[in-house]
Amino acid sequence: MSTNPSASRANGAKLELREVAKAIAGRRILEPLSLVLEPGRYLLLGPNGAGKSTLLKLLAGLWRPSSGHVLYRGRDIYELDGDYRREVALLTHELGMYEELTGLQNLVLFGALYGLPRPRARAQELLERVGLRFFAHERVRAYSQGMKQRLALAKALLHRPRVLLLDEPFAGLDLRGAELLQQILEEAVSPGSLLILTTHDPERGFRIAERFLYLERGVLRAYGDRARFDAEGIRERLRGIRDVGVF
């Protein structure tokens, strides 16, 4: 009834945070945050320990907020449960797959878990796309870091998610890998879907994203478009911190 394409914008992947806060073992990682994320592409920036990964895990429904709610199209994601999780993908530095299985086996397994009608064909298609076709039958344990990263990306795209959350997708990728990632994201992100990625490299990030969110110590300090980013001088604030950072 509401699946016709012209309404896709209005019916897009909209996420809403209502006073969402997270504390882990008594430590406050994210202060209460209210925010509406319309369909589009966002860059999540901030120094190490600002709460970026935590925010992504909360949005993915992997971590439960200590207080507040995350709404997807106006409904609590914990109420939607599986119906939400099959719309979302999260890419983190953890593989989230089985190292002793082959790349193909992993993708077929997760394809089935996401209820794809023909998981094998889809898995092969994606392996081809991320350039792992010749490594499909090799165990993931033997993959290099960059290959694991690409496999994780393939897994994230398997079920054509409408909410795509990427935590440091460029880390560990070489130049070619980064270009490929950028290309794939261009195609994968359909209108009406929502993409959020964190990175330490705003230049590269802005080639994909059009808006940004800036977190510091669990508080959203600034958000807006590219012009706003330049005006706020966030690049300078990040640069000072980046040098001490891990990357």
Binding site: I24, A25, G26, R27
Partner: protein, 242 residues
């Protein structure tokens, strides 16, 4: 400048005073109960005809057993409440109750064993109640051990709550299975075959009440200790952040 500090010192003093005065009340109550129950156990209750004076161990043994079980039941209920509400207070009291319950169970095993030596001539027998108590002891020792071995406090509370529930569910199953196991074998020893006279029942009731009060006091103290522990932890955390 110095006002906040003065206020906080005053508050601390007030707190210690309140603790001290309620502590004095508690000590008076405990003393009263101890004296009364000792009087009743040793002088008021008549000498048991078959077993003799050793039977008097029963007046502390049974309350210990009863309160051990009560303590674990409290842990069970609080664990469920913790899972429902995620309030750290429930978890704190659940853990406190398990620790006090473990102490009671330990003492129950010791007194039971001494009684067994006097009455049956052996320190240990695989009698259903003793065996159940022994398994109970193992389970709750594990509960406390588990809490120390998980770093992440939130995780630790969740895991402990689930185990607190699972362990208590197991109590009736273990008891029934061991009872059936033993009764299907030839019965060698028969316990508690003596007649209860009215004075004995009264003594037992007083002892039961006294031990339940002790349980409550120890529980309260233990939970308070845990609360202060957490407070110190938080303060340290704040200092680290500064």
């Amino acid at each position: 400048m110095s006002t906040p500090k003065a206020i906080s010192t005053a508050r601390a003093e007030e707190r210690t005073q309140r603790t001290r005065s309620s502590g004095a009340w508690a000590i008076a109550l405990v003393a009263l109960l101890v004296v009364t129950s000792l009087y009743m156990i040793f002088l008021y209750a008549p000498r048991e005809r078959v077993m003799g004076d050793v039977q008097r161990v029963f007046y502390i043994h049974l309350p210990l057993a009863w309160n051990g079980l009560l303590a674990f039941a409290v842990t069970f209920v609080l664990s469920i409440l913790y899972l429902k509400t995620r309030r750290a207070g429930f978890d704190r009291w659940a853990a406190a109750s398990a620790e006090v319950g473990l102490l009671f169970t330990t003492l129950m095993l010791l007194t039971g064993s001494l009684w067994a030596r006097a009455a049956w001539g052996t320190y240990w027998t695989w009698e259903p109640r003793l065996t159940t108590a022994f398994l109970l002891w193992l389970m709750y020792a594990f509960y406390l051990l588990l809490r120390r071995y998980i770093e992440n406090k939130d995780k630790m509370r969740l895991m402990a709550a689930v185990y607190g529930i699972v362990a208590f569910i197991n109590v009736p199953i273990v008891f029934m299975s061991i009872r059936w196991w033993r009764t299907l074998h030839p019965v060698v020893l028969k316990s508690s075959g003596f007649q209860m006279e009215p004075e004995m029942v009264q003594t037992l009731l007083v002892a039961l009440v006294s031990f339940t009060v002790f349980y409550g006091l120890l529980l309260w103290e233990r939970a308070r200790l845990a609360q202060v522990e957490e407070r110190v932890e938080r303060l340290r955390e704040r200092i680290r952040e500064v």
